[in-house]
Assembly symmetry: D2
Homo-oligomer: 142 residues x 4
Amino acid sequence: MSEILQTCTIKVSFGDCDPAGIVYYPNHFRWFDATFHALLQRFGGHAAVSRKLGSIGIGLIEVGGAFRAPAEDGDALVLTARLVEWREKTLRIAYEGRIDDRLTVEGFEVRGLFIREDGQLRAGRMAPLREMLEAGAGTADA
Amino acid sequence: MSEILQTCTIKVSFGDCDPAGIVYYPNHFRWFDATFHALLQRFGGHAAVSRKLGSIGIGLIEVGGAFRAPAEDGDALVLTARLVEWREKTLRIAYEGRIDDRLTVEGFEVRGLFIREDGQLRAGRMAPLREMLEAGAGTADA
Amino acid sequence: MSEILQTCTIKVSFGDCDPAGIVYYPNHFRWFDATFHALLQRFGGHAAVSRKLGSIGIGLIEVGGAFRAPAEDGDALVLTARLVEWREKTLRIAYEGRIDDRLTVEGFEVRGLFIREDGQLRAGRMAPLREMLEAGAGTADA
Amino acid sequence: MSEILQTCTIKVSFGDCDPAGIVYYPNHFRWFDATFHALLQRFGGHAAVSRKLGSIGIGLIEVGGAFRAPAEDGDALVLTARLVEWREKTLRIAYEGRIDDRLTVEGFEVRGLFIREDGQLRAGRMAPLREMLEAGAGTADA
């Protein structure tokens, strides 16, 4: 079974940076999230995948990041997402970002299938999502 | 003299959209701004250009946008910036965004050279910026 | 008939600013939008209002802004939204932002009632929204 | 010695939310960061504090968050930052967000004093920052 991964290249822009001239850190999480959603595009996108699974979304339970080196306006950040651990109700995704082969950011997301029931959110089983993604497993660049 | 323009392709992502499922409109301005800064990258980037011109930045004076059709997760938005009018202390940039050749967004920015003097910002003359950009005029895609 | 307006105070933060140390301009539109939505909160919020009106949202058709003076980390920006013009299918909102009584930003939004029909968006009549808002017209600070 | 903490109330708005109708998670980190910077405002703000310490900024080394319950348009999120651990070159801040006393988000930031030397960033000693903050220690609401 091949590993499922997705790579996106982010052109870091002036407006992504703070008064110190380096990336304002919440933007790294926008890019993590966008890379995961680029992966879902290979399966029809978040809306289509969620609809098939009877979920309102594949949302965040936990997230973390470590910043190894600054990124600045003009940098091309190559961000890779790897699906690294499936549990009954969670999926762990590992992220790694590099600029010219230098590691600049690492992190992870733990996601769940959010299902709305009686106005409350609960976590659904991940097996149907896993089957869907593994059926089309592989690598993609965007 | 050839027209100066810059084109960027934005992969619209889930997180760029609001609860109605369409792009949250301030993001269109992030993309306008990023396209202008991609153009500046051809001249060393905003920091280098500003330094050469003795400016703290090529900032916004006025901006506008009109939204012709919605953009959604998964769309590839092709955004073009054109430098359309140089005045003594302003530059007007016209923007046009298309998804599969359908016009989705139009707009403009009026920018000035911000110079900090005695703790105040004032607008500088645009001629040196114009010369710099026209010396390397042309088209670029990013 | 009293004018309908809404005032919000935004604490400008470090992360709202760009490498020049002043507010990254798309954030001004986030604040315009948030002030309009604060107004809708007085009527149950955007989701409830849209549901009553059979709309997917009260979205943007056109927008503009002019930046009169810079805003920086630590500034308290007092932003006022005024509903200034109702047309058959549009509502125009005027915005004005001040820091210590100094005008820093002005702008407007033209909004429509977006209705989804056969997978397309079309603009609905504004009269029902106008009636709803004018029934509870007045001023609010948030 | 009293604990140093800062509380901010965030009015969650429509535009902070994603197509699932709940807060787009990178916004939680914007709010963490803004709460830390609100704390710095009690000492003159990030720019003044950094200047005194010879630093380009008090930036991020590591960050994490866990999302316990969704936040939506109209919610008032009360976010508290606590300075919980000083090490030689790092400061750990713990965050807790509540809506009507229900815990919705928890997290942390590890920050360092970034000093630019020969074009590189390095981490400075935290003792001078600690002294500055503890001299004016206490609680503040914003």
